[in-house]
């Protein structure tokens, strides 16, 4: 799992690559090229955090753009006490949550999605010829994944956010905890609880856990 703070810890003299902190200082002095480098370094982390919250690539892209613009405007408030990426992710998460709570999203939720209706999902295994186990396995796996995707979407937001951010492999638990403003222990419990709820629902849907 890549850690954001590594860029801040290694000095430019050792690697020849400026650290995030050095780029921040240059950007604070008005160096747009330095800020552009910061955007390139962190765009994926910011975008995926936003995607975990809003679950739409278009909206996540807008959130990422807003995040970097806001970060540039508030660069003079960054004191370097935390890693730049952690500070940036906190901004991104706040903006993503604001967007999630926005009126547009609320209106979108009024229109039900046909994919969330579990009763309409076809059982692929019924179409298989008898004895074709490998194809059956593949279809069961595909069906299971589709069902998990649906169930993740129905998780309570606190559990879903924790599960998606931790499961992305993009952030450390400390970074996620800073984003969500919860202790690391609480975050770990949420991830575990999200998994437990998912398994419980899958068992209720007929999947044998063992």
């Amino acid at each position: 799992m890549p850690l954001a703070s590594t860029n801040d810890c290694v000095s430019a003299a050792e690697t020849g690559v400026p650290t995030d902190l050095e780029l921040v200082h240059r950007a604070q002095a008005g160096d747009m090229e330095a800020f552009g480098t910061l955007v390139d370094r962190n765009r994926r982390a910011v975008f995926r955090a936003a995607l975990a919250a809003v679950r739409s690539a278009e909206e996540a892209d807008e959130v990422a753009q807003d995040t970097f613009v806001t970060a540039f405007q508030k660069l003079d408030q960054f004191r370097g006490e935390a890693a730049f990426r952690t500070w940036l992710l906190a901004i991104a998460w706040r903006k993503a949550i604001d967007r999630r709570k926005g009126i547009t999203r609320w209106l979108q939720r009024l229109v039900p999605s046909p994919h969330t209706d579990e009763g309409q999902e076809p059982d692929m295994t019924e179409r298989l010829p008898a004895g074709d186990r490998s194809q059956e396995d593949a279809l069961i796996t595909a069906d299971l994944q589709r069902r998990i995707r649906t169930l993740v979407a129905t998780l309570p937001p606190k559990l879903r956010d924790a599960l998606l951010l931790a499961g992305s492999g993009e952030y450390s638990y400390e970074q996620i905890a800073a984003m969500l403003k919860v202790p690391v222990g609480t975050l770990k419990w949420r991830v575990s609880e999200a998994r437990r709820v998912l398994k419980q629902k899958l068992a209720a849907a007929g999947y044998e856990i063992g």
Partner: protein
């Protein structure tokens, strides 16, 4: 539904499936031109707002004199000596005649200031003056003079003396002798 026929236990396969799905849900790459769009937005904003809002410039200091002036104005407004309140008559009776013809104006008394109130205020004196005038100008309307009200007398409230000896529980009546008849066990059957 069995989770396949592989050697791994079903719970581990379920965990793996959850991991895979969660990773896929956020495994999307951002658009490559994000940097260009961000820089463009910042430069456009810079051009429209000027160089004041660049992070290197402490633009808040420029707003300090404005804020200080606002504080001074607010303080002056708050501490300015208050004007004495103008008291007005609380009860205002507006006379609206039923007839379309208006009665002649009430003779104005010199001791009342002209600008005391904008709406006509009718006092008891005005009504005493207006009544005969109204009777003269409109013969159909008769105004009866006020009659004195008879004195209202009330009887003094007196409490009767209470005899506390009479207050108390009544003696219980003696109970009649209770006779218990023997139960006939064969009567209730059948």
């Amino acid at each position: 539904m069995k989770l396949g026929n592989s050697n791994t236990p079903p719970e581990e396969r379920l965990d793996a499936a959850i991991d895979l799905v969660v990773r896929e849900m956020v495994d999307v790459e951002p658009r490559a031109d994000l940097r260009g769009r961000v820089i463009e937005r910042l430069e456009r904003r810079d051009a429209s707002v000027g160089r004041v809002f660049r992070p290197g410039v402490t633009w808040t200091w420029l707003m300090a004199p404005v804020a200080a002036a606002a504080v001074v104005v607010l303080a002056v407004v708050l501490w300015w000596p208050n004007q004495p309140l103008v008291t007005r008559a609380v009860t205002q009776i507006v006379v609206r005649p039923v007839d379309t013809r208006l009665p002649p104006p009430i003779p104005h008394r010199d001791d009342r200031p002209h600008s005391a109130s904008r709406t006509p205020t009718v006092t008891r004196e005005d009504r005493q003056i207006a009544a005969p005038v109204l009777a003269e100008t409109q013969p159909g309307i008769e105004v009866e003079p006020l009659r004195p009200i008879a004195a209202i007398t009330t009887r003094p409230v007196a409490l009767r003396a209470l005899d506390t000896q009479q207050i108390g529980p009544l003696p219980l009546a003696p109970l009649a002798q209770i006779a218990i008849e023997p139960v006939n066990s064969s009567a209730g059957r059948n």
